[in-house]
Symmetry: C2
Subunit: 146 residues, 2 copies
Amino acid sequence: MSRTYTIRELAREFGITSRTLRHYEDEGLISPERRGTQRIYSARDRARVTLILRGRRVGFTLAEIGEILDLYNEEDHGAAQDMHARSKFVQRIAALERQYKDIEESIAELKLGVTRIDNRMTERHEEINPRPQVRVSGFGVLPAAE
Amino acid sequence: MSRTYTIRELAREFGITSRTLRHYEDEGLISPERRGTQRIYSARDRARVTLILRGRRVGFTLAEIGEILDLYNEEDHGAAQDMHARSKFVQRIAALERQYKDIEESIAELKLGVTRIDNRMTERHEEINPRPQVRVSGFGVLPAAE
DNA sequence: TTTCCCGTTTACGTGAACGTCAATGGTTTG
DNA sequence: CAAACCATTGACGTTCACGTAAACGGGAAA
């Protein structure tokens, strides 16, 4: 019998609020059991939350995430339903691959931005304390704050 | 003299509405000139719209996009402002890199979904027209429902 | 028992990103 | 010159993903 979780535990583990978990339940994305009135989340619920949050981070709506989760659970829809599902999956994959490219480009541009700031700061420093040029392209040096 | 665009032209080119372009202007992301009361968009405005839309696709809010755009244009903020800006950039880069990973994983999972559907359809076909086949083992992403 | 601390439901509130009128005005086309 | 368009400024409406308070219950600790 694998371990279960309270709403607080799960919320803290994922860095979300209880309200958010209840909201996902309202939207039909998870359906934890109850011990009396209180929710008990199973390992399966936990796994679904992982997928939900990742889906959100890549820009899916909760409704879209719901569709996808459903498709992993339902058994037989018939060929027509499957074709429909398949094309939806393929579309989403294409969208994600476009997004992948967008992200690469955005990262490149933000790094350019960091470089420009670094150069500006270096210049300011040199006005006061001139020094032979060692231009640092410096990213990835700082730990992700907070 | 480089070419200019009407609001309709730009909207159609980017697949957005005029309302959206006005909204971006309300939010201070672009500031096209006016010929009388009408907006004329320059090549620079057009470039900014490109960045705005890409920013949106990767999940930035309009406010965040505004900050980023500003940093490409403003001249001197002083060292303190620059440090602040730099750390925001670095944070954004970190977030995007995490997102990058999320997308890879999501793509992998959606592809798994497609495979499962394909197998199901193959099975159905085999009922009618049997054929030896390598079966992809059916472990799901989620623990099975009890 | 009373006091906390979780937890629950119900329901209205909020911020972001536009959508959708309504009222108005310039322009070009038949 | 009137009809068709396209544009502009309010300003209220809408969807999504929760936030936030109100009112209530159960259990454990003081």
